[in-house]
């Protein structure tokens, strides 16, 4: 493979370094470019110059590029020329709700959407995004999904809450205590205690003891608030008959006790 200068003018986006088929409802991947004059040369883009026209990154042979796709590490799209460097965002919906419809519309309004591809995988959209134009969109979507998870918990929808919490976790551009705590709680309430402990241990490994302690405190507050909401007289909180049966006081108290006794092991 020859060493060459990669620019937006002499190359096109042909994929991204993230899997296509995966349960997560949102993925981010770095763009992969192919050279116009040498379609067997690829660049996993990691940087660009000040003007954003000259690209840097890891060079890939066609064999390496095919190998990454074969190993579920990357996805390919039809060649797309872009005006500025992009990142690739993948939206997925395992159900028919296509929750991402409004998100894509918002990206379009922000001028952040370079291209959208609809692969054969149902409910999936692959977006080439100008991240500067997208601004804080991911943060706001993550916050909204986290609030949806809480509302679902109050309504007694444990699996629905878990789905929202996983979405919030993946959408957020950073690992926030808000999302980790909500994910740990919703995994627990869905009966997936090992996943819940795994989230806590991951947070501790990733960001240290202070962050971990903050998540534990937040998790405890979430469980206490949930317990309190179930104890209030009808009408003080938007509740349904389903929620009253789903989260009885004994179960929530038991879960709080379980959580307090199952601190994640030292790392």
């Amino acid at each position: 493979m020859s060493i060459r200068t990669w620019t937006l003018a002499n190359s096109v986006v042909v994929g991204a370094a993230c899997p296509l088929e995966i349960d997560a409802e949102f993925s981010v991947g770095r763009a992969v470019f192919a050279a116009n004059e040498d379609p067997a040369s690829f660049l996993l883009q990691r940087s660009s110059d000040r003007d954003g026209t000259i690209l840097g990154g890891d060079y890939l042979t066609s064999e390496e590029w095919a190998g990454l796709q074969d190993a579920d590490e990357a996805l390919s799209i039809p060649p797309r020329a872009v005006a500025r460097p992009v990142v690739v965002w993948v939206f997925r919906s395992a159900k028919r709700d296509h929750w991402w419809t409004s998100n894509l519309a918002e990206l379009g309004q922000l001028g952040a959407l370079a291209h959208v591809d609809a692969p054969r995988i149902r409910g999936t959209r692959i977006c080439l995004v100008y991240p500067a134009a997208a601004g804080t969109a991911r943060d706001l979507w993550a916050q909204s999904s986290s609030e949806d998870a809480w509302r679902a918990l109050l309504a007694g929808g444990r699996l629905e809450a878990l789905r929202y919490a996983r979405r919030a976790f993946c959408l957020a551009p950073r690992l926030y205590e808000r999302d980790a705590a909500m994910l740990a709680v919703t995994y627990s309430l869905a009966g997936k205690h090992e996943d819940s402990e795994g989230v806590l241990a991951m947070a501790r490994r990733s960001k240290g003891e202070t962050f971990f302690a903050a998540i534990l405190a937040r998790r405890e507050r979430l469980l206490a608030d949930l317990q309190a909401s179930q104890a209030r007289p009808t009408g003080t909180v938007a509740r349904t008959a389903r929620s009253r049966s789903a989260f009885d006081q004994v179960a929530l108290a038991g879960l709080r006790e379980w959580s307090q006794n199952h601190e994640t092991p030292s790392t």
Partner: protein
């Protein structure tokens, strides 16, 4: 896989040091630090190798061996699982499995080389300016095999070999861990292997775990799973989630360094420095 000790490797390295004042000075100065660091360098397996999906690895709890290249087959090897020692030298893939370096049952069926064996198949060649070899171009498969045999040792010998290797190439042995993908040691690799781009795979120590058994990923094996991307963490089976360290994605278009390699290097040095 024929057994082989590392006496010949050490002998050549020591002979080169004796004949090269700068290498010998480096070795003497760095020897103590290398001796402290080497035992704590974990074995790292990065996902992204063709035909080996990371999802299959976690679904089965096992690194399945892959078929070897032609020059390895000529050496009597059939299937192997590959690890780099103390560094994340494979530049692709979004998950790194950080493994215990001295698991006895693995050591018994593993060999090592002071370079990536796969690189011999196309990414690297011998520097004609290196005086210690007569294996100049053409770099044919039998020569690649001979070269592989010359620089291959049984994994238990790593304990002796690695500190000497580090000291003979790095004034600060921790640089072996932290050098970027395209970089060279302070003193040229003694084995004479070079890549056109200066890729560290020509000088990072690789371990090859032989046999159909592959590598089972249990609690005694895995030290940490470094994961780039929340979607991949989300997909991990519950039993592996607690071992994960998540790297936050940079949503900007610029990430100059390989974040996984950087994180693995930091982790390795932190762990080595707090070790008794």
């Amino acid at each position: 896989m024929p057994p082989r000790d590392c006496d010949h490797l050490l002998a050549e390295l020591e002979r080169l040091c004796a004949n090269d004042a700068s290498r010998e000075a480096c070795r003497l100065a760095a020897s103590a630090a290398a001796g402290r660091l080497a035992p704590h360098l974990p074995w790292m397996h990065r996902t992204g190798r063709p035909a080996t999906s990371w999802r299959t690895i976690f679904a089965t709890g096992r690194l399945a061996p892959s078929a070897v290249k032609n020059h390895e087959a000529l050496d009597g090897r059939s299937v192997s699982v590959y690890f780099f020692v103390g560094a994340c030298a494979l530049p692709k893939g979004n998950i790194v499995l950080v493994c215990q370096p001295a698991r006895p049952d693995w050591l018994l069926r593993a060999t090592f080389t002071p370079f990536d064996t796969g690189a011999l198949a196309g990414h690297a060649g011998l520097d004609p300016a290196t005086p210690v070899h007569d294996l100049y171009a053409p770099w044919t498969t039998p020569e690649q095999c001979r070269y592989l045999q010359n620089y291959s040792g049984n994994a238990p010998a790593l304990e002796t070999y690695l500190p000497v290797y580090l000291a003979a190439h790095f004034r600060q042995p921790r640089d072996y861990v932290t050098r970027p993908q395209l970089s060279l040691p302070d003193i040229s690799p003694y084995h004479g292997l070079r890549s056109a781009s200066g890729d560290r795979r020509t000088w990072t120590v690789e371990v090859q775990l032989h046999g159909d058994a592959g590598a089972t990923l249990d609690d005694e094996t895995l030290l940490e799973i470094v994961v780039l991307g929340k979607d991949r963490f989300d997909a991990l089976p519950a039993t592996f989630k607690g071992l994960a360290r998540l790297l936050e994605e940079n949503d900007g278009v610029d990430t100059p360094a390989d974040p996984l390699a950087t994180a693995c290097a930091e982790w390795t040095l932190e762990r080595a420095e707090v070790a008794p």
